[in-house]
Amino acid sequence: MSHERYPSMDPVKEPHSVSLKVLRLSRPSLVAQHTLAAPSELQSTTGAAPDDLVPASLAYRSTAGTNPDPFLLTPILNLPPSFGSAYVGETFSCTLCANQDIPPEPPATAQTPARGQSQKKSIRDVKIEAEMKTPGSASVQKLLLGPHGDDGTPAATTEATGAAADAAGAGGVDLEPGQTLQKIVNFDLKEEGNHVLAVTVSYYEATETSGRTRTFRKLYQFVCKGSLIVRTKVGPLPYNTATTRKVPKLAEDDENKQLRQKRRWIMEAQLENCSEDAMQLERVVLNLETGLRYRDANWIVSESPRPVLHPGEVEQVCFVVEEDGKGSAVVEDSDGRVVFGVLGIGWRTEMGNRGFLSTGKLGARNTR
């Protein structure tokens, strides 16, 4: 995270007995290896066969044959080395660690006679709270603290889940020296711009004679960038001429009338990867209003592999939207514009990291 500030909230000037450490939990990454053949000098001394690999050039040791050498990628996982970039549509995950971190007592000397014993502190009731400040809203959103690792669990944004967070955080934890209280927060990034993750740690610091509650707060600021630019275009398609030709004009029954009047549009969208990483489109779907249905005309229909968009690349997708002819009226806004619904785009990046965006309401001008 780009920035970190320490606003003082604690009147006590002593160092805190609890430290807070954070790590953004992007997906762990596969470690690369560059295998090297054993030098001929080594072949003569150790009896290595020609082109045997130097064991030290492998990413890890195994007698199970799990290393796909001489391939570049290996299955061993590295924790995220840095914060990286945060993109709209992704879920921001972060682990928060509150550690009992009282410095070890210096060995008793003549100048400082054994004062350690009498002032031994115990740390009780350690609690972590986290909030997110997004660029678009004036207030902060309280975050639900996990362990609830799976992506299926939504990040807490509503009041109800906020209360759940309170309930979860209500029971503080006592920490022995060197112990850690670890929590995980997830937050769906929906806006571009500056985000601030505010983490508050509170605990009760007890000595044998007294005790006090102490609190500190750390702010972590990061910038969320756009990942995908979506441009859409809607054009009318002619009525289904085949149907109209078959039906004699004078013998129109209700059904045929409906068939003939079914309106159709073609909706195209250009999806541009404006992030710095390659992404693979997983699904692109329309969530339509009532009275409409659509046909996908993309990679699933043509049985092509899912498109991979390298940074700066564009994928064009296309749908045929039509009235479903079931009688329910399509939604039109005050200008007579037919409202389709929204376009949802799901993608995956390195190691399966997920992203999902949906557009605003799309529609077509009334062509009647």
């Binding site: 450490k21 762990p28 596969l30 030290a56 890890y60 199970a64």
Partner: protein, 464 residues
């Protein structure tokens, strides 16, 4: 007027035919017809010889004509025109035994290696080798920094004392076999001690790897050992900042290998035949790696799909699956290893990774735990399973358990970069005073016996 049929036709996406290229071993020497290798990859065109500026072709597919075919349209522009089996013997060329390679022995080629990047526990120990230790012994004990220094002393004839001179005798500039062997040790050891940027600079001194000076004028054979050529290609790719160079050079070498396979088959030399076939397979895999490094993941996936699994040991299937995971396609990754294609262990590894990629860390944890127990039961050690189990635990908010597992691996004598990095990261999360923990870890690792798996570590390995 737009018809749906038209749209579908327009959408009929880039056909990906099954292809054969110079990397396929079973290809008969294609004297009759040109072999078309189509890699549906963006901007991948090894036939275009990239100059220093890099020629950026965006053609969606490239055609690779066989080098063996007379009158190949690419011949004039192909770098292969200068590679061994094409090289005509210029009249008056110096015989191999009299060739002077002193231009590779200039001291200014080689960089000083600073011991400051080594944590103190590794510097101040009796495990550090003496300067007189022979290079072969240094290599066998994983003393790669010392071997890198010793090889330069021999190359540049700059030993600091008579005893060292006896241990690393200066090289004769016309003894090309020893020059290249020492050069390879130098470059390889730099890579092993995490000094690849230095190696990339030093590899530039080899200049054009296909120049006639490196070829035997009579047999056309390359004088450099195979491993040096492979390494030099990658390092020069980095040194000159031109990622295409590697792919092009690997294809050149593949053509050469075809010739060797043909020769070995004719001579009924099975050992040679197997060696060259293995090298061909390795080249194919290296091309995949080079494409990943230039971040053309789609191109890499398309290329890997063209490789044939000759060994059937699950390695290639696992490699493909890992590439799909790297790209984010978990479904494709699972498909690569299912039905036993990835081998019994390979499949389990990939499926556990798939769980983690899907964010299902509980499921992943279960798979890693089972796999670890299963392997231990059979007396098999696998560092990766332990490390990944620990990583999984951290994502579940159980870092303390993960830390214990990683420390247990250190106790078992494991010390891969990834293990040290992940454990150091956990130390950073555990306390404000992580430096002391990392220093203690460095101390513990320095007490491990030096083996061919490597011993000395750098400060960066401990995030110090």
């Amino acid at each position: 007027m737009v018809h749906i049929a038209d749209i579908f036709e327009w959408l009929a996406a880039r056909p990906r035919s099954s292809t054969k290229g110079p990397l396929d071993a079973d290809e008969p020497p294609p004297l009759k017809s040109p072999v078309i290798a189509q890699v549906a990859a963006r901007g991948l065109s090894p036939q275009v010889r990239p100059g220093p500026g890099g020629s950026r072709s965006n053609s969606p597919a490239f055609r690779s004509s066989s080098p063996f075919r007379a009158g190949s349209p690419f011949r004039s522009s192909s770098p292969f025109a200068r590679s061994p089996n094409r090289a005509s013997t210029p009249s008056g060329i110096v015989p191999v035994t009299e060739r002077d390679f002193s231009h590779l022995l200039r001291p200014e080629i080689f960089h000083q290696l600073s011991p400051l990047s080594i944590p103190p526990p590794f510097r101040n120990t009796t495990k550090q080798p003496t300067p007189e230790t022979p290079i072969a012994e240094l290599l066998a004990h994983g003393q790669f920094r010392a071997a890198a220094i010793a090889s330069v002393q021999a190359l540049t004839s700059s030993p600091v004392s008579a005893t060292i001179a006896a241990a690393h005798p200066p090289v004769d500039p016309s003894d090309y076999a020893r020059v290249f062997s020492l050069f390879y040790i130098r470059l390889a050891c730099l890579c092993l001690i995490d000094s690849m940027p230095l190696a990339a600079q030093e590899a530039k001194a080899l200049e054009d790897l296909n120049q006639a000076y490196y070829l035997d004028p009579i047999t056309g054979a390359h004088l450099m050992p195979w491993e040096l050529r492979l390494l030099a290609i990658r390092l020069q790719t980095i040194g000159f900042g031109d990622p295409r160079r590697a792919i092009m050079s690997y294809y050149d070498m593949a053509r050469e290998v075809h010739l060797q396979i043909g020769k070995a088959a004719k001579a009924h030399d099975n050992t040679e035949l197997e060696l060259w076939k293995r090298r061909l397979v390795e080249l194919g895999i290296k091309v995949g790696g080079a494409l990943i490094e230039m971040e053309d993941l789609a191109g890499a996936a398309a290329h890997m799909a063209t490789l044939r699994d000759t060994a059937q040991d699950g390695k290639l299937a696992t490699a493909k699956a890992l590439l799909w995971l790297h790209l984010g396609d978990v479904d494709a990754a699972s498909r690569c290893v299912r039905d036993g294609k990835g081998g019994p262990v390979g499949e389990k590894v990939v499926l556990a990774l798939v769980d983690m990629a899907n964010g299902h860390f509980e499921d992943g944890l279960k798979k890693w735990t089972e796999l670890k127990a299963e392997l231990e039961e059979n007396g098999i050690q696998d560092e990766m399973v332990g490390v990944n189990l620990a990583v999984c635990l951290l994502y579940l908010g159980r870092m303390q358990e993960g830390r214990q597992i990683l420390e247990g691996l250190i106790d078992d004598g494991q010390s891969s970069r990834t293990l040290l990095f992940n454990l150091s990261t956990m130390y950073e999360l555990c306390t404000d005073r992580a430096k002391a923990l990392k220093a203690r870890l460095a101390d513990r690792v320095s007490n491990l016996e030096p083996t061919s798996h490597g011993w000395e570590k750098t400060n960066a390995d401990f995030k110090l």
